[in-house]
């Protein structure tokens, strides 16, 4: 079958937004379940929090913050693009959204190390 036409910044911004959304949707129930342990099994929560202090888990959290940032700014980009009649090339916005996402997750990284 023919290869679809996809290699351009706006399509990449679109797919990044969708994928980050799906992964965050999978993460959130897990997140709430862990928080609920504070009420149901405090000992188990403490155990998990000790595990979460490990550097490798901290490193993984950066990915999470990146997903969150990329999704949030991707959404802002989309709303701006559709609700404000931009005349400038929108790919600048798409690139900007990813740039800010990197900045935010980078700032988080510097803070945890």
């Amino acid at each position: 079958m023919m290869r679809p036409a996809r290699a351009h910044p706006l399509w990449l911004a679109y797919i990044l937004h969708r994928i980050s959304g799906i992964i965050l949707a999978l993460f959130l129930p897990l997140h709430f379940w862990v928080l609920s342990l504070a009420l149901t099994e405090p000992a188990r929560l403490d155990e998990f929090l000790t595990f979460a202090e490990m550097p490798i888990v901290k490193l993984a959290e950066i990915g999470l913050i990146f997903l969150l940032a990329v999704h949030a700014f991707g959404g802002v980009r989309l709303m701006a693009m559709e609700w404000l009649p931009w005349s400038a090339p929108q790919k600048t916005l798409a690139a900007g959204a990813v740039g800010v996402a990197f900045f935010v997750s980078g700032a988080f990284f510097l803070q945890v190390i």
Binding site: P4, A5, E82
Partner: protein, 242 residues
């Protein structure tokens, strides 16, 4: 500039919708050669049964669009040198449309959606009335002018992943046409225009992937036109049909 080799290996889609396969042809390479020249050479010198569609050869008519190395393009305005990879070309009929035969896509769904979107002028006066005065610098007129150069080549329709995934989606060209009419001061029925593009498969199905704008050979911007329709339909919804 000399071509690196004297022949091109051209993979061409053959057969009809139900039975498609690739056939490879060796085509002499020229210094100045469009993809349409390559297709024509095959039909004239290698296999006269090759079916394809073209008319003006200068980017006016919009009938020669095909997938070239996976990207939708006007073959008449695409130089081989720009797209060839290691002396190889792959040429297929436009994506997202049924195949009639070889490189000729069936344009019916594309034009049916053009009609379904309601991109038809609704007159605001009769021939007895004086000619309407339209200020060319008016904001709405400038917006309408931005998309009137569409020649229905269906490159945007072939580029769009939403069209591929949603058979009801009207597609970038038809929606852009409606946006043009919506901004035309001479159109008398804006509400029916918005009504026809706000349902299933209308402007709100667009995911703003931007492939239409990226590939439009006339450098039009259907994605922004569709965003305009999204704003207009939302405004109309909140004002209860303005």
């Amino acid at each position: 500039m000399k071509s690196r080799s004297s022949t091109l290996q051209v993979k061409v889609n053959r057969g009809s919708q139900a039975d498609q396969y690739f056939q490879t042809f060796d085509v002499p390479a020229d210094d100045n050669q469009t993809v349409l020249d390559v297709v024509s050479w095959i039909q004239q010198h290698a296999d006269p049964t090759l079916s394809y569609r073209f008319s003006c050869r200068v980017g006016m008519c919009g009938s020669c669009a095909m997938m070239v190395n996976g990207e939708p393009r006007w073959t008449c305005r695409t130089h081989v040198k720009k797209v060839v990879k290691a002396d190889r070309l792959t040429i297929e009929p436009l994506r997202n449309l049924p195949v009639i035969k070889d490189l000729a896509a069936d344009m019916d769904p594309f034009f049916d959606k053009w009609v379904a979107a309601g991109g038809r002028h609704h007159p605001s006066s009769t021939r007895a009335d004086p000619i309407a005065k339209v200020d060319p610098t008016d904001k709405a007129r400038v917006t309408a002018d931005a998309s009137i150069e569409c020649i229905n080549c269906a490159v945007c329709y072939a580029a769009c992943d939403t069209v591929a995934g949603n058979p009801d989606y009207l597609g970038p060209a038809a929606l852009q046409r409606v946006w043009t009419l919506y901004n035309d001061a001479k159109d008398a029925d804006k509400f029916s225009l918005l009504d026809q593009v706000s349902g299933m498969g209308g402007c709100h199905s667009c995911h703003s992937m931007g492939s239409c704008t990226h590939y439009c050979p006339n450098e039009l911007d259907p994605m922004s036109a569709i965003a305009g329709l999204k704003r207009a339909t939302a405004r109309s919804f909140f004002k209860r049909g303005d």
